[in-house]
């Protein structure tokens, strides 16, 4: 089996990671501050997308409420901040624990359902969290809340854009590393086997429900991490972080990048942001003023991708070995 890095896909991925690793240096050199902020958001959303890929891509669980975990992560940090608990050492673990606990609870209910019911119930639970947060008048309600960033005294200052970016990038790498280990671990094989044929896995003796629940909780935890970073990025939390549209965007990203491909979520996030950035000016070139309505093109594009390009970008980069 050839070394995975020597394939076209491998080369592109390595180059991409290198580019991301040195982005703050590049943006400083070319004085492109906006680009760094876009890059930060791409990295953060990639973490969220990787977490969804764990359960959707590898596990076959179409969760339509994943953005809720981002929201929980962000709100936990935001609420603690607003109440005066600004230490990141305290906030971040609490946020992740809350998200994992919630994921376990709703997972225990949702994973008893199948197919369409599962999609709907995850969506509904996300809406529940969404409405709860927009009802929290004390924390901004619908308008959201400005918060101070988490403090890590002596270690890192999150207001420093470059430092924050590198923190996010490091966490993305850690998430990708964990995911790569997960996929080929005993746990990962059970999850993937269950995606392939759940009944068969039960007939082999695996209590599939338990494994899926664990995966659901783990994915929720990583998504909360992304939410924490998102809240710190803009120093702002709002229910919009967890609207069902965001959950839908995450699914788009994962499918776009390539389901069940390790770096798929990264490709997908970049592609998604790229479309948002470049499709409008492209349309404006064709006809002035059309750019504003870029989703009239994007929408059908998603339909086409769903019908004809299921493998996503990852499949365009060449065949994968098992």
């Amino acid at each position: 089996m050839p070394a995975p890095w020597r394939t076209p896909r491998g080369i592109i991925t390595v180059l991409l990671l290198l580019l991301l690793a040195v982005l703050p240096l590049l943006t400083q050199a070319f004085d492109q501050r906006y680009l760094l902020s876009v890059g930060t958001r791409i990295v953060i959303w990639s973490i969220a997308a990787v977490s969804l890929n764990m359960i959707l891509g590898y596990g076959g669980l179409v969760s339509f409420g994943h953005a809720a975990f981002l929201g929980i992560g962000g709100y936990a940090v935001g609420i603690l901040s607003a109440e005066g608990y600004e230490s990141g050492w305290m906030q971040w673990p609490v946020a992740i624990v809350v998200a994992v606990a919630w994921a376990t609870l709703i997972g225990a209910l949702s994973l008893r359902t199948r197919g369409v019911y599962f999609i709907m119930i995850t969506l509904a639970f996300a809406q529940l969290v969404y409405y709860l947060s927009s009802g929290l008048a004390a924390y901004g309600g619908d308008d959201g809340l400005n918060i101070s960033r988490s403090r890590f005294p002596g270690l890192i200052e999150l207001r420093d854009k470059a430092a924050f970016y590198w923190l996010c990038f490091a966490l993305l790498c850690a998430t990708l590393w964990f995911c790569s280990r997960l996929v080929h671990s005993r746990f990962g094989h059970v999850l993937r086997g269950a995606r392939s044929n759940e009944l068969r896995m039960m007939a082999l003796g695996f209590p599939v429900f338990r494994y899926r629940l664990a995966a659901f909780a783990i994915a929720g935890g990583f998504a909360a991490l992304a939410g924490i970073l998102l809240a710190n990025d803009g120093a702002y939390i709002s229910p919009a972080m967890m609207s069902w549209v965001k959950s839908g965007d995450l699914i788009v990203i994962v499918v776009l990048g390539g389901i069940g491909a390790l770096f798929g979520p990264l490709y997908g996030t970049i592609a998604f942001f790229a479309v948002e950035e470049f499709l409008p000016p492209l349309l404006d070139l064709l006809h002035r003023g059309w750019g504003e309505y870029w989703q009239i093109v994007f929408g059908p594009l998603l339909v086409i991708i769903a019908l004809y390009a299921r493998g996503g970008i990852d499949s365009l980069l060449g065949r994968r070995h098992a």
């Binding site: 019911y117 509904a124 809406q127 009802g135 839908g248 499918v255 009239i296 994007f298």
Partner: protein, 304 residues
């Protein structure tokens, strides 16, 4: 007491509206196994079509009557171009494609009708009150909604229970392959069902418009409640959709009406008013969760 009665009626009215929306959804789900997120867009288009047609004809009744076939046509077009290709696909692809349709329709509406919300006025002949009980006035328009909703529900029940089309629908909901094997023109049936669902959705949208307003994305949040309703009722079951819609309507309205007072007993007034709508929404999802724990395929759903 009168206040309670009015709220209950409002709950019935909302429930019937939700039933219209949910009925089409549960049919496409049950028969075509299609997760159609764009059903809310059909709701929205009904309202926009009505707004335009009422503007052209200067008549509420004529405008709404013309909007219905327009919705049917739209439904059939969507079915033939997109939905049809999704039946054989797995749910993820259906979610992705119909999500794309939502974006498309929202932007289309923005391009054609502009970003500002529109309003449809309650027609003059319904812009009054009726006394449902002596001394208890109730808006005539809402009363008309209840009447129309009930009529549609009865017609739909008759259609499903007593006509050939209904029989095919019921058979299809439990076994799609079998009705194909019976030599029925499946493609036509599916187009019909989809179109019918679009009419119901559009009808709900245009009926809701004078009360709720016409704006971009108006169908998207309601759609989720419609999904909750069909999950509670059981996918493919019209009866289930009706029962669940009634329950949800009551919870939503009565909850909104009485929760603030209940919450004020242990919360500040401002927090109570802000929290109440959120909590009544939350209640709906809790009911869904409870139903699914008890019956994972809904109250009247098919048990596999």
């Amino acid at each position: 007491m009168d206040y309670l009665l009015i709220q209950v009626l409002n709950g019935v009215q909302l429930g019937l509206l939700m039933f219209l929306l949910a009925a089409g959804l549960t049919l496409t789900f049950g028969i075509m196994d299609l997760v159609n997120l764009a059903h809310g867009s059909l709701y929205m288009m009904g309202a926009y079509f009505a707004w335009t047609l009422i503007g052209w004809t200067d008549s509420f009744v004529l405008g709404t009557l013309l909007a219905l076939p327009a919705c049917f046509l739209l439904g059939v077009i969507v079915e033939v171009t997109v939905a049809r290709r999704l039946y054989a696909r797995d749910h993820l692809e259906q979610v992705l494609a119909t999500f794309g349709l939502i974006l498309f329709f929202n932007e289309l509406v923005r391009a054609v009708w502009g970003p500002d919300g529109k309003s449809i006025a309650v027609p003059a002949f319904l812009n009054r009150t009726v006394n449902i009980l002596p001394g208890v006035p109730y808006p005539a328009y809402r009363f008309a909604l209840i009447a129309v909703g009930l009529v549609v529900a009865v017609v739909l029940a008759w259609l499903v229970a007593r006509t050939r089309l209904g029989m095919l629908i019921r058979a299809g909901a439990s076994n799609r392959r079998m009705i194909a094997a019976l030599g029925v023109n499946i493609e036509l049936l599916f187009s019909l069902v989809f179109g019918l669902g679009a009419v119901f959705a559009g009808l709900a949208g245009l009926m809701a418009a004078p009360i709720a307003s016409v704006k971009i994305g108006m169908g998207d949040d309601i759609l989720i409640v419609a999904f909750v309703i069909i999950v509670i009722g059981g996918i493919g079951s019209i009866k289930g959709a009706f029962v669940a819609a009634m329950v949800v309507g009551q919870i939503d309205i009565v909850g909104r009406a009485f929760l603030p007072d209940f919450l004020k007993t242990f919360m500040g007034a401002a927090s109570a008013s802000a929290a109440a709508p959120a909590i009544s929404q939350v209640l709906i999802y809790l009911v869904m969760a409870a139903v699914l724990v008890w019956r994972p395929t809904g109250l009247f759903g098919q048990r596999s």
